[in-house]
Homo-oligomer: 405 residues x 2
Amino acid sequence: MRNALYFQSGGVTAVIGATAAALIAAHRQASAGRLFAAEHGLSGLINGQLVDASALPEPMRLALSNLPGGGLGSGRTLLSPYDKNPEQWAQVRDVLIRYQIGTLYVNGGNGSMDTAAKLVELSDRFALGLKVIGLPKTIDNDLEGTDTSPGFGSALKYLSVSLMEAARDHCAMAIKPSVFIMEVMGRHTGWLATCGAVARLPEAIDSPLILLPEALFDPDHFVATVRDRASRSNAIVCVVSEGIRTADGRFYAQQNVAQTYGHEQLGGAGFAIAELLRAQLGFKVHVAIPDYMQRAARHLASATDIAQAEAVARHAVVLAQSGQTGLMVNIVRESDSPYHWHCGDIALKEIANKERRLPDGWIDRQNYTLRANALAYLQPLIAGEISLPWSAGLPEYPWVEWPAV
Amino acid sequence: MRNALYFQSGGVTAVIGATAAALIAAHRQASAGRLFAAEHGLSGLINGQLVDASALPEPMRLALSNLPGGGLGSGRTLLSPYDKNPEQWAQVRDVLIRYQIGTLYVNGGNGSMDTAAKLVELSDRFALGLKVIGLPKTIDNDLEGTDTSPGFGSALKYLSVSLMEAARDHCAMAIKPSVFIMEVMGRHTGWLATCGAVARLPEAIDSPLILLPEALFDPDHFVATVRDRASRSNAIVCVVSEGIRTADGRFYAQQNVAQTYGHEQLGGAGFAIAELLRAQLGFKVHVAIPDYMQRAARHLASATDIAQAEAVARHAVVLAQSGQTGLMVNIVRESDSPYHWHCGDIALKEIANKERRLPDGWIDRQNYTLRANALAYLQPLIAGEISLPWSAGLPEYPWVEWPAV
């Protein structure tokens, strides 16, 4: 009898536990042997840090479904090309053989899908007959070949709601020109910064200025824009992607701090922008950096996102059971409004290591905003509220005791 | 017929709208003339920026009750001593007479309660016969003379939940020693940093290190503690009050940045701690700064806090109607568990400008943690979840159109 192995790879999300829990349930239902899971990604697989996910008691599986961060441990180790590291390939092979693994489920983003594609090569090279299926997961939404990736919708909902709330606070206090900056994740793409357009602010509040990695950052033009905004309204709101760059291609966060202080790591893009505005305009500036909070806020997860996080797991088992390999489950959009979607698949090789950026036609660079067509895509992804078990004022996020192999 | 005037003063909260909405309802029920409100605090009163709160349509009053930031506008202008600024007193007097104000409701923290006390003096000096009632409000929880202040419980709940979620994310990713830092508000008191003790983390995660303004910060002792933690666990969580100070009495945020870069405003305490740990231990450090988000997160408000925010407004009207003046409504705790409380009152003069710090007996300075007796006080304040009206994935936070005077 052949077993299956699941691992998570890359940054975790608020709903990755929902994917893991749904995979366990679907795998059980398929009666397809045991389902092992590696802790901390590929490095856990290599080191033999495996647990028996299929033996997880049902109450704990349900708790796992609600758990931000996923309760298993992810990792950033990737599979090298064979020529570069044949020892690594041999280690992986040995573990797969030892545990009689016939199916591999790789839950990750674009780097992880490259590892999944290499695991197909590994199977061929060592004649293991593996079925390798990728499950999408990234708050960055930068995976090619899928309409969206589980994790993104919840992060976007959290950031949009947070921006709506913080903007109302900022408005209440702004009796002279002042700026509230929210720095969001996204080193190469501005998907999460779209919260500045998704957030529903009253007309009395100017729409947020959105700074994207896809639009080169020109400090002079930006300062002039903020000065102009301040002539109309005291409360200015700005969303900054951590990865904004200037025309020379360098990250603004590093560049500004390096120029001023000869040092690169203190603060990020948000504080660099704050320094710029204080120095050039003398405005009061507040900076919020949600950091891990934006990808862990399970209490404000999107019901749509959770439904998709679970669906990709169920579809992965269907693909493996029908003998397929070398595929990533994807989400296919049928219509924007009403929003209809289903799960399909795409070859790992077509998407591995590619990076999906915001469509150019969405971006109004001159005005630091997004065009209306962006919203037709984004709004369905944040739809629906969820409930969690609460006790004594806090959500129940237990520790997952994974059964030993 | 004499009217009443309400204004907000100091930083706003997630539940200050609930106080305003409850005051409007209670004032209407008392049939006590019109209730005006000044925009942006005392400065709005002085400038005659008044609205007719008692004419607010009921659906908008209900929406106001859910609105973070309060929808009216607060301000930081305080009433000076008469000798220092007799013109300011004359301006206030003129507005009060023009609008036939007989009752003043001042909704704020300890600085604002000093202004409320001075408004009693102003009434005496100009023989206005004012009734002046203070309504407590501060996320900092540093008001004396009340068991807690509306705004604090919700901010504490939000930070505690956020820390639980971010800690689970951090745990999932920590395959070598790394630190997650959450910087919370509190320049002089550590009430919000108590989220590090309130957050319910599994035993497998070491309890968060809590850095308080009430405990002088010793960098060497802290680095040694983190090094010791790292020998047991990879995932280290730390909550830092923005206002931590070293033995020389200076803010650590300013001091560290000034020493390194000759500049004071870039980054805050969280980034200063991050720099310290990177430099001394070489650890990876992530920093979250919720900033305004922590006092605006109405979506995660404490039901207990909202009940108290409304109760103080109703009690303020009762006090005014019974002819009292010079009092602040307070919250009196009857028991911890089950948690029972009621509204009472205390003389403004007894509490104005005082600052309540964390009880010394709660603080375990050696271990950067709080003792168990802190939790008996804190836990009831975050109890209870609320529901909001949502549409298309976002809460409904409309713009309040205040009726003109």
